[in-house]
């Protein structure tokens, strides 16, 4: 790990000014950044510690029915907040399926959005990687790529975004509040992470010094509370990143789907909103054939980026299963134990 200048500003304005300098990075819990620094993948010359900035650790239920989650709210605190978990069960379920209890106790909302890909060649500084060293090439293309992207990838990078939390957030139209030198701006989470194109080194729309201050959910996000699930397939049962995941949220009225929300994780460089599938579902009854049609619509543009064609069919099945679980209803206990996709009966006690 390179050494660095350590700063602990007292205000957001000071933090933004300090982090706008070339080579600077924000430090939240450090569960991703310190790891990347130990591996020599990131080498900031200045760390701006935001942990003591005032006001960023608040969870506010807004008068209009929306909710505002401060950037320093810890992943575990958000998932275990009883009111939040009841109103947004798929988000709590996604948070609890990520990392480990220890990591969730430390990890922050802002850091979770900004965590970098888990592509093994990005982590291995001896490999060629366009994301780490623009123009160097991409060793993942001819290498171990069974976990890489099947949607939105480019010739220059086939990495995925690893966050679970972001998947239901994007389904529920979350908005990112950003503070920069020019003041505050807001960006829909759906367009916050960038697809790689020719600039895979840019993960997100954040410019130098820009700080995530909060993530906001609109009032409409709460109307799916009775029918919302997050389903994640991993190479082992727990403490592993998603091979594929899906967040499904339904508004059910008289046995019909009034409105559907669907997003996928582990398939692209951003949490992937599946609007075409949402349209297929609107106004239908949640029957197996309809859910399968929605799953097909969600993956219509998918193509393998290597030895990962299996992920496309896997994603269709996970989408159909997540929709079936959501249609069956949010489990009584919220947050539920992260659901096992290997349980035999959709909607049954999935951890039995």
């Amino acid at each position: 790990m390179n050494t660095f200048e350590y700063l602990r500003p007292a205000t957001i304005a000071e933090a933004v000014a300090a982090a706008a300098e070339p080579g600077a990075a924000y430090l939240a819990a450090g569960t991703n950044l310190v790891d990347l620094m130990k591996g020599g993948i990131s080498h900031p010359t200045r760390l701006v510690d935001i942990n003591r900035l005032p006001g960023l650790d608040r969870l506010e239920h807004l008068p209009d029915g929306g909710v505002r989650i401060g950037a320093l709210v810890r992943n575990a605190d958000l998932a275990h907040d009883p009111v939040f978990a009841r109103r947004f069960p798929a988000i709590a379920e996604a948070l609890l399926s990520g990392a480990s209890a220890q990591l969730r106790n430390a990890a922050t909302v802002g850091g979770n959005l900004m965590q970098r890909t888990r592509c093994a060649y990005f982590y291995d500084v001896a490999s060629a990687c366009n994301k780490r060293a623009p123009g160097a090439g991409c060793d993942a293309r001819g290498g171990e790529n069974r976990l890489h992207a099947v949607l939105g990838w480019s010739e220059s990078c086939i990495a995925t975004h690893p966050s679970d939390f972001c998947v239901p957030l994007v389904a529920l139209d979350a908005v990112v509040e950003i503070e920069g030198r020019a003041g505050r701006r807001e960006v829909a989470l759906e367009s916050f992470h960038q697809l790689p194109g020719n600039t895979p080194e840019r993960d997100s729309v954040l410019g130098p010094g820009e700080l995530i201050v909060a993530v906001r959910l609109p009032p409409a996000a709460a109307k799916f509370a009775a029918h919302a699930r997050y389903l994640k397939v991993r190479d082992r049962t727990s403490y592993a990143f998603a091979v594929v995941s899906a967040a499904a949220a339904l508004e059910v009225d008289g046995g019909r789907i009034a409105e559907a929300r669907l997003a996928l994780g582990g398939v692209a460089a951003r949490p992937w909103r599946a609007r075409a599938a949402e349209k297929v579902l609107a106004g239908t009854r949640p029957e197996a054939a309809t859910l399968r049609r929605a799953a097909e619509a969600a993956l219509a543009q998918a193509r393998p980026s290597g030895e990962n064609a299996f992920k496309i069919e896997l994603a269709r099945r996970i989408v159909a299963r997540a929709l079936a679980l959501a249609a069956a209803g949010t489990p009584e206990r919220v947050p539920a134990l992260p659901a096992s996709p290997f349980a035999s009966v959709a909607g049954a006690a999935v951890h039995a």
């Binding site: 130990k38 275990h80 209890a101 220890q102 134990l337």
Partner: protein, 165 residues
């Protein structure tokens, strides 16, 4: 640049001068305070051997920069027993063979103390296994670990009931 930070470690105030901001809580405990009970497994957040409680919450000390934790209250495996009397989680690990080589054990025990405080697992073994999944055991002592956590939880709950009564 040099920093001076103050921590409460196992109930004792400790002031430490750091010449380098790169020091993690794990290295600070092991190299500077000679508290080597907390283990370094992967040093990258992937095994849980370095688990300690910071302000009552279990975290991986290998990814926590010490400078960022000025003022924190830290509990490590060395601070768990009361004199010769083992903490109920320690006693339960012995009673249930919750270890073999013992390398992961301080992390497992601190993680179990954190899990019991969080109060999310109840008496469901599946939830205990899920809640303990951040602690790997290369000897595969998982069956005993789950039993130990369940028993310690019951004993601590009984002790709480007696206190109230």
């Amino acid at each position: 640049m040099s920093f001076s930070i103050t921590l409460t470690v196992n109930g004792e105030m400790r002031t430490v001068a750091l010449e380098d901001p790169r020091v993690t809580l794990l290295d600070l405990l092991r190299e500077r305070l000679e508290l080597t009970g907390t283990k370094k497994g992967c040093d990258r957040g992937q095994c849980g051997a370095c688990t300690i409680l910071v302000d009552g919450r279990r975290v991986n000390s290998c990814l926590a920069l010490a400078v960022s934790h000025d003022g924190a209250d830290i509990l490590t495996i060395e601070g768990l027993a009361t004199g010769e009397a083992l903490h109920p989680v320690q006693a339960a690990f012995i009673a249930h063979d919750g270890f073999q080589c013992g390398f992961c054990t301080p992390g497992q025990i601190m993680s179990a103390v954190g899990l019991i405080r969080e109060g999310q697992a109840g008496d469901d073994p599946e939830r205990v296994r899920e809640g303990m999944s951040g602690n790997l055991c290369r000897c595969g002592a998982y069956a005993g670990i789950t039993q130990a956590v369940l028993e310690a939880q019951t004993r601590l709950a009984e002790a709480d009931r007696k206190l109230v009564a």
